[in-house]
């Protein structure tokens, strides 16, 4: 029975090649889109899950209360790990490690700046990295040990065995290679190229030894003996800051390691999502596209019901039960979805490289993985079943007497269901079009919004080695040498210095005081240090006063931004004395806000000092109009000459700035592509449906033509109904898209207003596409000879 059904299904599909093509095409695109998005979701989901005890591992978050909000970040005092590991019951291990930061590592001549992490031994026990060489038990014990990842070892040593070889860190410390671990998968929140013992950190940065419970810069990981201890440990952790530092505003919470990536947004000290929101959107889109393809199938199969009705009648008359008919139709749709899946494979393999480039990830179809096949097969079966269920139940319900008598099947119920399905398809398509447009509008709005300085043609050069950090501190002479040399090269118009990268968030303090500040007020200030010509070089604007100048002695003077003035409520800020900690400083200038953190948020108040010691970057303004690549080459020559021990490093500020839009850009691109697919599949469905309608109404049209109906009459007769459906879909889609986008936009402080344009565009686009689709078929009907249509019967 099954074999025969399969055979008949195949013959049926072959006989109606057009429908099969539309169906398989639609389903294949749907399945491929769904699989790609699910692949991406699986990638996001797999973060931090490659360690054997990941489920018992937690990250300690630090919730600091301010009057307005609770700020949460994973940075804790260095003493936290020891305290937690030894004092709190239920904790089996606790480790401390630093934030990955680029440090110079050299094997003789070969030197690279690579991400370095300092960590204690517990770190390796909590996160069981795969050791390729060396003993994991002994690693990180000695002060001068270092663990390399495989590719780091390769770039430093080539094919030599790196074990026990010596490396030089930051041109000072000597380190011995203890072990090599496999490269870290992308799906790891802690990314580094080499790992060094905690003791080496103390040696490299001696000041940190005195850091107490007030300084937060260490990542503490905690592993529980068992997850049943979670509540108990959480309760103990809560007061840990207060126990060590009276009046501390911080509380510690533990956040599952596996959720760190997806649930990283905190509000009021509680995890409220993060990347998971985007992932959820993608899952939603994935299934909606698949559903649209299924709806296509349903539409076309029920539309063809007249053709199948006779078969159903005969089968019933010769003794088939309804169940076996349902089975037959389900076999057909599952078969179709398997064919579609094969095609989807081809589509996926073709599009995956592009998709990867788009998302900056490395997804592969892992054919050896049983999970992959399970998902694949269940998805195919699911699709086949969903797509086939309605047609199966509908078609099998025909009464044999009626269909065998030649009863004309214009089941009104099935028509209205088909209409509902078409409307649903187009609602989704219209929603996606609107959302895509608004996402892009928002992106453009924020991108084009003034960020307070000219980011194009601005280069950052980290000050390392001879460039200005001679002896580990800012060295005025070497900085001046760099500046002179750069300007002498002729490609640079001005040079200044800054304490951090232009796009770095962080370096914040609560400890700002100003005249009239109330005791309770706690405001988060960004603090930076800048060199001479700062405002001029970055292309910013001074709204009051002056910037640092060689004519003055400015070490007790500061510049502030406009937000700071607003926060402090100073009427006439120039000359006012404010203080950070113990340092009393005088305001000499006010600059327009510059965006250093999120471009979507109001700039935080900022204070800029003139402390050479803290300068870490040179900011270089290229001569406008010059050739960029030759300019860059000249700059590289200068830095290489001045600083031969270090590899050349420089960044374009606007490149870095672009990275801030990655999430939104990704959402926009994906919504664009998959929205396009959704529209395309919907149109396939519409095409199929008109094909059917025209066929069914062939006789009517022929009669009308004989009676003298013109081309326009016939066209409007055929298409009016469908246009109405698309119109209705638009009307339903509008409020839906409006609600979704209002919610999405509400997360941004700077947001574009929702105008009528996206809606009008979606309406126009969907109607236009529908008209085009419909016209293809209608033209065929128009050209046909009415006699052919009347010959039948």
């Amino acid at each position: 029975m099954f074999r025969l059904n399969l055979k008949i299904a195949l013959r049926n599909l072959w006989k109606n090649k057009g429908y099969t093509l539309i169906n398989v095409g639609g389903l294949a695109i749907g399945l491929a889109s769904c699989m790609l998005l699910l692949l991406y979701v699986a990638h996001e989901w797999s973060y931090n899950r490659q360690f054997s005890n990941y489920d018992k591992t937690y990250v300690v978050f630090n919730n600091t209360k301010t009057p307005n909000e609770i700020l949460s970040w994973p940075w804790t005092p260095p003493a936290m790990a020891k305290e937690v590991g030894q004092q709190i019951a239920g904790v089996s291990r606790a480790s401390c490690s630093t934030n990955p930061a680029p440090l110079l590592i050299a094997n003789g001549e070969k030197s690279f700046r690579k991400q370095a992490v300092f960590a204690d031994q517990e770190f390796l026990k909590i996160l069981d990295y795969k050791f390729l060489k060396g003993n994991p038990e002994k690693a990180l014990q000695a002060v001068n040990g270092i663990i390399l990842t495989e590719s780091t070892a390769k770039s430093l040593f080539g094919n030599e065995d790196p074990i026990n070889k010596t490396l030089k860190l930051e041109n000072s410390q000597l380190l011995k290679v203890e072990a090599v671990i496999a490269d870290l998968p992308e799906t790891n929140s802690i990314q580094f190229d080499y790992l060094m013992p905690w003791a080496a950190y103390e040696k490299q940065f001696p000041w940190f030894k005195d850091a107490g419970w007030g300084s937060h810069f260490v990542l503490t990981l905690v592993q529980l003996e068992d997850n049943s201890f979670f509540n108990q440990v959480s309760a103990e952790m809560k007061g840990i800051f207060k126990r060590h530092e009276k009046g501390s505003l911080a509380e510690a919470i533990i956040h599952p390691f596996s959720k760190w990536h997806l649930y990283s947004r905190f509000e009021n000290g509680k995890s409220v999502g993060g990347r998971i929101d985007q992932v959820k959107i993608f899952v939603g889109i994935a299934f909606c596209i698949l559903l649209i393809a299924c709806v296509n199938f349903m539409n076309l199969s029920t539309a063809r019901s007249q053709k199948r009705a006779k078969e159903v009648g005969v089968r019933k008359a010769i003794g088939s039960s309804r169940k076996s008919l349902i089975n037959q139709f389900l076999v057909e749709s599952v078969l179709l979805s398997f064919i579609a899946m094969l095609l989807a494979f081809v589509l996926m393999e073709i599009t995956l490289p592009y998709f990867n480039r788009l998302l900056h990830i490395e997804l592969v179809l892992d054919y050896g993985n049983w999970k992959f096949w399970t998902v694949l097969c269940s998805l195919t079966l699911f699709t086949g079943f969903i797509a086939g269920s309605y047609p199966a139940f509908y078609l099998s319900s025909f009464e044999p007497v009626k269909v065998l008598k030649g009863f004309n099947l214009v089941g009104t119920s099935s028509v209205s269901i088909r209409k509902v399905l078409v409307v649903a398809q187009f609602v989704f398509a219209v929603c996606l079009i609107i959302c895509t447009i608004i996402v892009y509008q928002q992106l453009n709005y924020v991108k084009n919004k003034s960020i307070g300085y000219e980011k194009a043609g601005l280069i950052e050069i980290p000050l390392q080695g001879n460039l200005g950090k001679k002896g580990g501190l800012g060295n005025k002479e070497s900085m001046n040498v760099l500046k002179d040399e750069l300007i002498k090269s002729g490609v640079v118009s001005s040079v200044t210095y800054f304490s951090s990268g232009m796009n770095w968030d962080g370096h914040r303090t609560f400890d700002m005081n100003w005249p009239g500040k109330s005791k309770k007020e706690l405001v988060y200030f960004n603090y930076r240090c800048a060199g001479l010509d700062f405002v001029k070089t970055i292309g910013g604007k001074l709204s009051l006063g002056r910037e640092f100048s060689p004519k003055h002695h400015d070490s007790l003077n500061v510049m502030v931004n406009e937000s700071a003035i607003k926060v402090m409520g100073l009427k006439d800020p120039i000359g006012k004395v404010i203080s950070m900690g113990k340092d009393q400083v005088t305001i000499i200038g006010v600059i327009k806000d510059i965006v250093v953190g999120s471009p979507y948020q109001q700039a935080a108040p900022m204070v800029i000092f003139d402390w050479t010691v803290n300068l870490n970057f040179a900011l270089v303004r290229l001569n406008p109009g010059g050739n960029i690549s030759s300019a860059v080459q000249k700059i590289d020559e200068v830095t290489k000459r001045l600083n031969p021990d270090f590899p050349v490093e420089r960044n374009f500020v606007d490149d870095e700035f672009k990275l801030k839009f990655q999430n939104e850009q990704l959402l926009g691109t994906l919504a664009n592509w998959f929205g396009g697919f959704a529209v395309f599949i919907s149109c396939l469905g519409l095409l199929g449906l008109t094909l059917y309608m025209a066929e069914q109404r062939k006789k009517e049209i022929s009669i009308r033509k004989v009676l003298g109906a013109g081309a326009m009459d016939v066209l409007s007769l055929l298409n009016k109904d469908f246009m109405k459906l698309v119109g209705i879909a638009n009307l339903i889609g509008f409020p839906l898209a409006y609600i979704i986008m209002t919610r999405w936009l509400s997360a941004y402080e700077f947001r574009v207003g929702i105008s009528i344009w996206p809606f009008a565009t979606a309406m126009g686009l969907s109607l236009l596409i529908a008209i085009l689709t419909l016209s293809i078929q209608s033209a065929k009907v128009l050209k046909s000879n009415p006699v052919d249509g009347l010959k039948y019967e």
Binding site: L4, N12, K15, E311, G313, V314, I318, S321, K405
Partner: protein, 229 residues
């Protein structure tokens, strides 16, 4: 074998009952060859459909081989006609996507006959109807008469005790029609299969043993052909 008592069938339209069948009572015995005749709209096909359990009478009792059909549930009814009834249609109603052999095999599949037996029975029927050479053709590759032969073969393969034929020769030219009627007669005489056919043609009716004349839903005449002769 078949006992009809007071069968009525009507459609109510806006409160007005339009009768298709009225007070139809008759009994048909095993081995009879009955022709139902009458003008268009007399209710011939409806009567045949009721006999074939494809339609339910509005009122009345129908006993098939001693079982009250009206009160049977659908599963039992399907069971009953799977085993006892074979249909032959005017428009043949073969399944276009199936070959000749598959079309003939289909009822056996629903009867859950084993694969080996299916093969032998289909081969047997094909042989009897001289269609072995055509077994892999599709219906649209056959002439009308051949298609109807396949239709009859399909009805016979399940070894029914009764064949219901709704104008089996209506779409055929007369030489082919005669061939089909001969076949029916042979089946009736040699295998004692009860045959009930609806027909317009006196010639066809003459092959049978009994004629039921319907007019406006009422049996006007019930002739036994032996009597006529």
């Amino acid at each position: 074998m078949i006992e009809l008592k007071n069968i009525e069938k009507y459609y109510a339209n806006k409160g007005v009952k339009s009768y298709i069948l009225r007070h139809v009572s008759t009994s048909i015995k095993q081995g009879e060859f009955v022709s139902i005749m009458g003008p268009s709209g007399a209710g011939k096909s409806t009567l045949l459909n009721i006999l074939g359990m494809l339609e339910e009478p509005t009122y009345g009792a129908y006993e098939f081989m001693g079982e009250d059909v009206v009160s049977l549930n659908e599963r039992k009814r399907i069971e009953l006609y799977r085993n006892h009834i074979g249909f032959v249609f005017q428009a043949y109603h073969l399944i276009d996507e199936m070959t000749v052999a598959e079309n003939i095999e289909a009822p056996l599949l629903y009867k859950k006959v084993s694969s080996a037996e299916r093969k032998s029975r289909v081969a047997d029927v094909l042989d009897r109807f001289n269609m072995v050479a055509k077994k892999d053709l599709f219906p649209n590759q056959l002439s009308g008469g051949q298609q109807q032969l396949v239709g009859i073969a399909r009805a016979l393969v399940a070894q029914p005790s009764i064949i219901l034929a709704d104008e089996p020769t209506g779409n055929l030219q007369s030489p082919q029609a005669l061939q089909i009627m001969e076949l029916f007669k042979k089946l009736n005489e040699e295998e004692n299969i009860t045959i009930i056919q609806v027909t317009h043609s006196e010639v066809n009716a003459a092959y049978g043993s009994r004629i039921l004349h319907l007019l406006d839903g009422v049996i006007k005449e019930d002739l036994s052909l032996q009597q006529v002769i």
